[in-house]
Each structure stands twice: as structure tokens, then as C-alpha cells.
């Protein structure tokens, strides 16, 4: 019989890596499966000053590197593959991967969320030509240029601050008349001379000739439209969960976030969810790692009760 893991953790972001750490420390045979970049969204976050203990010089990639080696040091297997489907029936669950399959007694779904698109004409055409969803990836290109940031949450305002290290001018376009970001972040942005804000406004179109040259803005209170010249458009308008493969298997809310109890149990026995993919109030690295720790601990209890008693 092929190898059966105690726990297969789907997704190698902070939630998955923390679950791997806790699972391997309690001597469960565990594997973390990541399809793209270890760390997920945290890997492309430059400033992580809200993660306790990480005040000075801690970037997302640095923190993730440490989480990864920590989990590995205790024996978690880390593999690169893409989860295509899960079969939840029976005591042993199967995870179908792009390159084979894995069997495990429990699953922890920690596949996270991904940025939402703006949905404006031109957005797809200028992808990689001035439209970006990753400030750390692309900020360099806009050195001494001008950029627009769309959105009003933590990510939008934080990334706008980050972009001022490169761009000469950063304009935040937000559809409401106030930000949803944490107060300390808002204060920092408002003090920054390179940042200005256009309130109550949406981006109707992104245009250019080969590369982005400007956006069409519309004030949603007055319906007035204006042309705004810019070299780049950074989009941070929220996230959507990444768990298509679990649709129809575990219970989800209307947006596709997986519903769990406070012990990370989903509607299916032996399947847990952790991190941003879960329906919850606060999606941060600190809550993701906490979810991962709880999921692994409860998974261990489940195995103990189910298979060893």
C-alpha cells in the first residue's frame, strides 16, 4: 500500500506552514503542498510590521523563509504541486495532484485567497504593461514615475506607502469617502507628501499605447468623468478565496470562503480549513498561523480518536 500521511496540508502560506510545524512537532507524518510560491501573499508583502516580534527589517519573504525551514526542521515534507481535486469519502482521503496523488487521514485546506480584478476595460490588455497586483514585484519599473493605486483597505494603503519609495507621485483612487485600513497605516499614508487621494471615485477604463498612459475616472457621487494621466495602475480591491476544488464538498459561504467552527473543522469529518480561505473577520499572517496551529492540533486529536482508540 502506498504511503498514507496523517495530514496533507494544501497550500504553503503562513497557515499551511504553521500547520506543518505543529503537525510535525506532534510527530504526525505530514506534507505541505504548494503550487506556486511558498508563503502565498505574504511572500510578496514587503512590510510586515503587524506580525508580533517582526518589527525591524522583517519582510514577507524573510519571515516565510524562516517558517519554511522551521517546519522542515521538524520533519514536514514540502512538495511543489498543484491540487486538482480532493476525494473526501472514506477514512483515508485522496488528493489528486497535477503530478500524481497523495493519501492522508486528514486534510487541512490552507489554499488562501488571491487578489480580485478591477473589471475595468483595458485591465487585461495592460497586464504587465503598467497594470499590477504586486507592488514588490513591479515597483522598480516606476522609479521617478507616477502611479495610481486602486482600493482603500490595508493592502491598498500599505502598498501605496511602499510605492512612494520608487514613484514620484502616488494617487490612491477609492470608491468610498474613507479608508477601511488600520488607523496607524492611514496616518502614515496621510503624512506622506507623495501620496494624494481621490475619494468617491472608480476607475472606468485603463488606456494607453502599448503601455499604460492613463485612466478614466468617474466620481460616483457626481457622475463626473475625468482623464487622469498615469504610468501605472496598482490594483488592491480585495481578495477571493482559492478553493474551487473543494466546491460542493465542504460548506462555503456565498463568496466561496470555507465555513469552519472555531476548531477549524469544516462540514466534512477529517477535513479542516485554515487561513485566508476560511470565512472569518480578520485575514492576516497572525491569524493564519494561529488557524494552522489549531487545525493541526485538532487533526491530531481526530486521528487519535478515530484510528487509535
Amino acid at each position: 500500500m502506498s504511503k498514507v500521511y496523517d495530514v496533507a496540508i494544501l497550500g504553503g502560506g503562513p497557515a499551511g506552514l504553521a500547520a506543518g510545524l505543529y503537525a510535525s512537532r506532534s510527530r504526525m507524518v505530514s506534507v505541505v503542498i504548494e503550487k506556486a510560491k511558498w508563503g502565498g501573499q505574504a511572500a510578496t508583502t514587503e512590510e510586515l510590521e503587524n506580525y508580533p516580534g517582526s518589527i525591524e527589517h522583517t519582510t514577507g519573504p524573510k519571515l516565510i523563509d524562516r517558517m519554511k525551514s522551521q517546519a522542515e526542521a521538524f520533519g514536514t515534507e514540502l512538495i511543489k504541486d498543484d491540487v486538482l481535486a480532493i476525494d473526501p469519502t472514506g477514512d483515508i482521503k485522496t488528493v489528486k495532484l497535477a503530478n500524481g496523488e497523495i493519501k492522508a487521514r486528514t486534510l487541512i485546506i490552507a489554499t488562501g485567497a488571491q487578489p480580485m480584478l478591477l473589471g475595468a476595460p483595458g485591465e487585461m490588455d495592460f497586464r504587465g504593461k503598467g497594470v499590477s497586483y504586486c507592488a514588490t514585484c513591479d515597483a522598480d519599473f516606476f522609479t521617478e514615475l507616477e502611479v495610481v493605486v486602486v482600493g482603500g483597505g490595508d493592502s491598498a494603503v500599505e502598498e501605496a506607502i511602499y510605492l512612494t519609495r520608487f514613484a514620484d507621485k502616488v494617487t490612491i483612487v477609492h470608491r468610498r469617502d474613507q479608508f477601511r485600513a488600520a488607523k496607524s497605516i492611514i496616518e502614515k499614508a496621510m503624512k506622506n507628501e507623495k501620496i494624494s487621494v481621490i475619494w468617491d471615485t472608480v476607475v472606468e477604463e485603463i488606456y494607453g499605447d502599448g503601455i499604460v498612459e492613463g485612466v478614466k475616472l468617474k466620481n460616483i457621487k457626481t457622475n463626473e468623468t475625468t482623464d487622469f494621466r498615469t504610468d501605472g495602475v496598482f490594483v488592491f480591491v480585495g481578495y477571493k478565496p482559492f478553493a474551487e476544488f473543494a466546491k460542493g464538498i465542504v460548506e462555503m459561504d456565498e463568496k466561496g470562503y470555507i465555513i469552519t467552527d472555531e476548531n477549524m473543522r469544516t462540514s466534512v469529518e477529517g477535513i479542516f480549513a485554515a487561513g485566508d480561505v476560511r470565512k472569518k473577520l480578520l485575514r492576516q499572517v497572525v491569524t493564519a498561523t494561529a488557524d494552522g496551529a489549531i487545525a493541526a492540533t485538532i487533526a491530531e486529536k481526530y486521528i487519535e480518536d478515530k484510528f487509535h482508540s
Partner: protein
Amino acid sequence: MIELNKDNFDAEVVQAEGVVLVDFWGDKCEPCKALMPSVEKLAEQYGNQIKMCKLNTGENRRLAISQKVLGLPTFIVYKNGERVKEISGAENCTPEAIENLIKENL
């Protein structure tokens, strides 16, 4: 893979005959770095049929912008010096998508 810069870009890509794939990447682009091992593998696999190159945009910003590249990761296929196809963005640039890009243009 051939490392491109402003001194060899013309000779290796624009003046080159045949098919060239350029991987535009950067030191700060985590998705790009995560992809690199897969791209290196594809370079070994298809190296006889296609010239595989990479361009560090952090060191060659102007050159990247001259190719209208303002976002990473970006992969562009050039045929006899003319750009024919490209993909951009972390979710679009999967190892499978890059392999398809190569196969389509052989």
C-alpha cells in the same frame, strides 16, 4: 539559459533568427524566483529548438521598458526578432502555460 543585458539583447533577440523566449524577472519578484527552476528545466528540455533567455529587469530597467515590460513575471516569444506572443502576471505564468507558450511557437 542566456543572461541578457543591454549589450547583448539586440544580438541575441532582435537580430536573432528562429525562436527566442525571454523570461523577464527581478530579484524582488518572488513569483519569478519560484518559477525559475521550472523554466531552467524547460530550457534543458527544449533548448535545441528554442533559444531560452532571461533578463534581470532590476539591472536592466530601461531595456525592459523599451520592450514595454512594466510588470513581472512576463514571458515573451520572439520569432526572427519580432515579438509574437507573451504572457504576464503570476497566475498566468504557470510552468504549464510557459511550456504551452514554447510548444505553440516551435
